[in-house]
Structures are given as structure tokens and as C-alpha cells.
Symmetry: C2
Subunit: 384 residues, 2 copies
């Protein structure tokens, strides 16, 4: 086990009716900027619940943050936040709204010339406006971490940043707010959470048996309750478990003391930037292909995953690994998420384009930093 630091200060308020709690979580005198997405919160009652909880407060609104939150749009919110001297940001929506809000939070006090540097420079911002979160979509885990992924369409870029100042002060998770999500978004959320666990778990044996079993706990629960919550969206308990799995999948805990992969996400981000497919769709395509391409390096862990997560009995390590990959891909497909580039209308030439983009950034992906441009192209040919 490697040395590690774990510090996750997010207060999670979880359960039915919990949006009312935000009145106690935000200073009564704070000037609030509420951020949200395309307006679904106005249809499902969440907007009204938030307004009721914060009746009488000084609150501005910034709506329209899209999936793959867009730099140009977020900069408009930054301008409002600066002009209005906002004290706190309240993100109401899914992971995209929250990721965008994290960028707004660091960009408002940022003194550098170009705020895009926050995302690409690797130099951490030293301050941020405090963030509160009302989550309405279980998927990214952003509600309990300090990561965000921001897109810039004009440059066809989609990039992640990390900053300890953007942990939400609180995240309110009411599973009932997710009952009206379209099946595609629920399925995407299941795949996203599953992939987050795999990025931290599916590497090589690292003498971290508790972290392994904590990861397997999330994977097995997703396999158990994923199809159920898709079929019965108003089953509270199944949906609550999905919400909690998605949060636990990327709050840092299962990654303590172990080397991690993240190649699937890095390649997936490029596919989304270039071709506009959903984030989770990109993961469902790339993850099985990476597992096949890296089978030799990941064989021991794949075999453990086959036995413990998929319950496969017997067979040698190689056969266990093959079966585990097949079951993973079949699981994604059973949720209605396709796993081949061609099924999304993405041409075979994408392999070379993505490979070239990552090569231009000198990307060295995976837990061994062994996936470079040529390997990226090979991986994308596997899932063509």
C-alpha cells in the first residue's frame, strides 16, 4: 500500500425531503448565485423546493449550463459573480452543472490573465467562492470530490482539473429528485459510476485488500440495483442506493494508497470533445477495449474481478479475464448503452484523430503510463 492523504470535508445531507435543509446550510446574509442547467429543475419541482427553502434570501440565478459545461458560457456567470460580489454559489442539477459551478467558483477570484489556465496550466487556483450543491443526477460523484471537467467547444477541448478549494461545503442528495430522469441519463449514470470504480480498482495487485473490497462492494451493488432502478424509477430504495454508489465511486476513498488508471476517461473525453457523444457512452466504448488491450498487465486483477464481482467460478486466469470483460460489456449493453464507436456513427478515422490529440499533449496514460499515441489508436480500433 502506498502512502496517502485522505481529506474529504463535504457534508452530505441525504434523503427524502432534504432540500429543505439548505436553509440551515447557507448563511442567511450570504448573496447567493444559483446555477442550473437546461431547465429540468423547473419541471420536476426541484427549482420550487430550492426557492421555498431560501425564501427571503438574496439570490441571483444563472441557468443554461449544458452537459459538458462550456467555458464561454461559464465565463458569463463569472462576470455576474464578480459584478454582483456573490458570496456563495448554489449548484442545482447534475454533475455538469456542478463541474461548471466549480470552475465559476475558482474563476471569480482568479487574477491570472486567462481563466482557461485554471483548467490546463496545472497551477492550482488559491481561492474559490464557497459552493453548495443540490444534486439531481447520480453519476459523476462531483458532489463529494474536488474534480471538475470543463469543455471549450471553440478548441474542441474537454479537460479535467482538481482543486481542494472546490469541494462543495455541502451536497444535498434527495433520491426522489431523480425519479423523473430519462432512462438514458440513469443508464449513463450507472455506467459512469461503474467506470469510476474501475479506473481506481482495475490495475494490478497492490496489497490493498480493503480498498479492493470497497471497490467491489460498489461494483456489485451497481450490478444488482442498476437494472432494477432503470426498470422501476420510483423504487426509492433502489434509486437511493444508486445515488449513494455514484457518490462513493469517486469520493477518493477507494483510491487511497493505490496507483490508478484513468486512461478510459482521458480517451473518452477526447471522443466527446471531437464527436459529441455522452460522457458515459464514451466510457462504455473505451473501457472494454482498454481491458482487452491491457489484458496481460491487468490479468490478475481481471481474474479477481471475474471471481468476486461477476461470480465466475473455475477457469484459468486468462479465461476468467475474458469472461469478466465480456460480462462488463454485456452489462453496459443491457442498460441500453452501446459499446462500439460505429454504433454512435463515429468513423474508424477517430482512432487516429484521438491518438494524435493525446500525443500532441504528450499523454502517458494508464497505471503504468504505458498507453501512448500508438496504443490509443490500437484501443480505438478494438472498439470500432
Amino acid at each position: 500500500m502506498d502512502n496517502f492523504t485522505y481529506h474529504n470535508p463535504v457534508k452530505i445531507v441525504f434523503g427524502k425531503g432534504s432540500i429543505a435543509e439548505i436553509s440551515k446550510l447557507i448563511d442567511p446574509n450570504a448573496k447567493i448565485l444559483m446555477t442550473f442547467g437546461g431547465g429540468s429543475i423547473k419541471k420536476n419541482g426541484v427549482y420550487d423546493q430550492v426557492k421555498r427553502a431560501l425564501a427571503g434570501r438574496t439570490m441571483l440565478e444563472f441557468g443554461g449550463i449544458p452537459a459538458n459545461p462550456e467555458y464561454d458560457s461559464l465565463m458569463e456567470a463569472v462576470a455576474i459573480g464578480r459584478k454582483e460580489k456573490i458570496d456563495v454559489l448554489l449548484s442545482v442539477g447534475g454533475g455538469s452543472v456542478l463541474d461548471g459551478t466549480k470552475f465559476i467558483a475558482v474563476a471569480i477570484p482568479w487574477r491570472g490573465a486567462d481563466p482557461w489556465d485554471i483548467v490546463v496550466s496545472g497551477k492550482p487556483a488559491e481561492d474559490a467562492i464557497p459552493i453548495g450543491c443540490v444534486l439531481t443526477l447520480p453519476a459523476t460523484g462531483s458532489e463529494m470530490n474536488c474534480f471538475a471537467v470543463i469543455s471549450r467547444a471553440s478548441r474542441k477541448e474537454k479537460r479535467a482539473f482538481s482543486n481542494p478549494h472546490v469541494y462543495p461545503r455541502f451536497s444535498v442528495l434527495d433520491p426522489e429528485t431523480t425519479f423523473t430522469l430519462p432512462p438514458r441519463q440513469v443508464a449513463n449514470g450507472i455506467v459512469d459510476a461503474f467506470a469510476h470504480v474501475m479506473e481506481q480498482y482495475m490495475t494490478f495487485p497492490q496489497a490493498a485488500p480493503l480498498q479492493d473490497r470497497q471497490a467491489e462492494a460498489i461494483l456489485r451493488t451497481l450490478i444488482e440495483i442498476g437494472p432494477k432502478t432503470l426498470a422501476e424509477p420510483r423504487d426509492y430504495d433502489a434509486r437511493a442506493s444508486l445515488v449513494w454508489c455514484a457518490t462513493q465511486a469517486l469520493n477518493g476513498l477507494i483510491g487511497c494508497g493505490v496507483a490508478q488508471d484513468w486512461a478510459t476517461h482521458m480517451i473518452g473525453h477526447e471522443l466527446t470533445a471531437l464527436h459529441g457523444i455522452d460522457h458515459a457512452q464514451s466510457l462504455a466504448v473505451v473501457l472494454p477495449a482498454i481491458l482487452r488491450h491491457q489484458k496481460a498487465r491487468k490479468r490478475e486483477k481481471l481474474s479477481q474481478f471475474g471471481r468476486r464481482v461477476w461470480g465466475i467460478e473455475g477457469g484459468d486466469a486468462d479465461s476468467l479475464a475474458d469472461q469478466a470483460i465480456e460480462k462488463t460489456e454485456a452489462f453496459f449493453r443491457s442498460l441500453g448503452v452501446k459499446t462500439k464507436l460505429s454504433e454512435y456513427g463515429i468513423p474508424a478515422s477517430a482512432a487516429q484523430a484521438v491518438s494524435a490529440k493525446l500525443d500532441a499533449r504528450d499523454a502517458k496514460l494508464g497505471e503504468h503510463e504505458a498507453i501512448r499515441g500508438p496504443q490509443v489508436a490500437e484501443i480505438l480500433r478494438i472498439c470500432a
Copy 2:
């Protein structure tokens, strides 16, 4: 799944050589009161590591905090803390030192007449001196929670309190500092962590499949690495896993959204207060007896525990439950921790004495609050 709030702000710094980090974790101008126990930290090098990390700082020392930290002794530290206007407490030792330090932290600013009220009144203290922790014994989980258990020998009392102000600001966990622990303390730590998980997990099905599996992850890891780390105390990876299991066993995570038991601890505390047996010894005695006494109410969960944790195959729920209890008791015994009162020289009359003490406090124990005085006596007869 029940509604819940989860907020654990402790910064964990984990791994070899991590004590040196405390120089960065404590304000250079802070006046520190370092607390410790019977002096083992002076033999195993931890005291020197702390002094080296904090060379040049203003630091007073308060040693001699015993296992089952004692009110009268802790009040001496409170007097020092008040007189010297201490800014921060640094607990260096195991869970007893840290629990005692948590009491000192709330007692220093406490304005009530009798500081014992902090423990028994149920009225939360509203302030505390900040606490840092260097942990040298994996067992109680106190390093990542806001609980403490304090004893008062003159009244034969041992009582728990909880206060959000006593979360350590940081806890430094270097598994190497535990290499020289006596086997009895290591075995006790394994039993303590196991029992902490059982108190939160072994109840009834509560539609919380992730929490169940997170609990089972800790139990299985303890079963796997417990005997190994007892046999090979200098195997870093096994010891690191024990340390991390003990922390995860009582940091609030696996108890999110579920009703909990804690009858084993409440009865065990009385046995320790009256008869002086180690905390973990009391748990090893009481837990199997409670499982036998409450088998009907816990049958479904016992059967799941038998299948998933102990790998028992086949058999009906009743037989699975019986086998699971037997395996649990045998596990404790395999670690060298006895499971009968008589083996510790405690007379059969203890059943009535403990029952009377809990009855006098009108205690209603267990997840159903169904264990009252008469049931306590029955339970203690089972483990006579």
C-alpha cells in the same frame, strides 16, 4: 434506507514516515499540549519522531493517560490546558489517549459546574480546543470520529460521548509505529474493529446494499489479515491494512442510513467498569452471546453474514446463523482473545450486577431497544 447526514472532516495522513508531516499540520505559533499514555512512545521512537518534527515549537507534555482514560487524571490536564492557555492538543498514542484528549479538549472551554456532565448529561459542549492525533494502535477508530469513552473509577462508570467539535483536525497513521505492540493489543484491536462493524451491520435488512457490502469488506479483510499481522508484526502491508480497517470500521460511513445496535458495547463497558477486563475482551465475550440471544431478530442478517463473510454454503437460515456465530467466536479465540466471563475470572453474579446498573439508567439497548435489564442478565448467562 433512512435519511442521514455524513460529514467527516478529519484529514488522514497515512503511511511510512508520515509523523514528519505534523510540522506542516500545526500552526507554527500554536502553543501545544502533547498528551500520551504510559510511556511506550518513548521506547518505540514515536516520542522522538514527534519532538523532531516539532523542534522549536512551544510544547508542553501530559503523559500517563491510562487505558480506559480516567476522569480524575484527565482533569489534571484540563487544569494545565486552562492555566497555560493551550491552543492545540496533540494526542500521541492509541484510542484511549485520544479519547481522553477529546475529553480534555471540550472540558478546557467548558463553563458548566461539573465537567462530568459533558459525558453524562447528553447536552453537547459548544466548543473545543483543536485536536491533532498521531495514532500508534489500530483499534478504536477514534482517529476518524467524534466519539470518546471516558471512565470514572470512583463511581465505577465508563461512558461514551459524542461531539462534532472533537473530530481530530488531522490524524497521522504510520503503521510502522505499531510493529512493537504486544500481541494482546494487536488481537484486541482486531476484535474491537470487528465488533464496531458488527454493531452497525448486524441488525436486520434495511435496503442499504452498499453499506452492507462496505461492512462486509472490512470484516472479510480483518479475517484475512488479522491472523497474518499477529504472526508477522513487521509485515508492513498486512499491518497497514489492519490500521486502515480499524479506521474505516468506525468513521460513520458504514452506518449511514441504517439503524444500529451497540448493545455489545454498552454491556461491555459495564463489564470493564466493574471488573477491569480489556475493552476488546468484553466485546469478545458479549458479542457472540448477543448474537445467540437475538438470533431470531437478526436471523436474516446472520444468514447473509454467514454466506458472504464466512463463505458458508448451503443450509437453511437458522443453520447458517448458528454456524456464523460459531465461526465468529472461533475467530476471536484463534486470535487469543477468550470469550467466556469465567475465563477472565468474572463470577456468574456479574450478570445481575451489570443488568441492575443498566436498568438503573433505564437503558434500552439494541436496534429494537428491546434489550432491557432482564435480557442483559440472560445474555451474560449465555457467556458465563
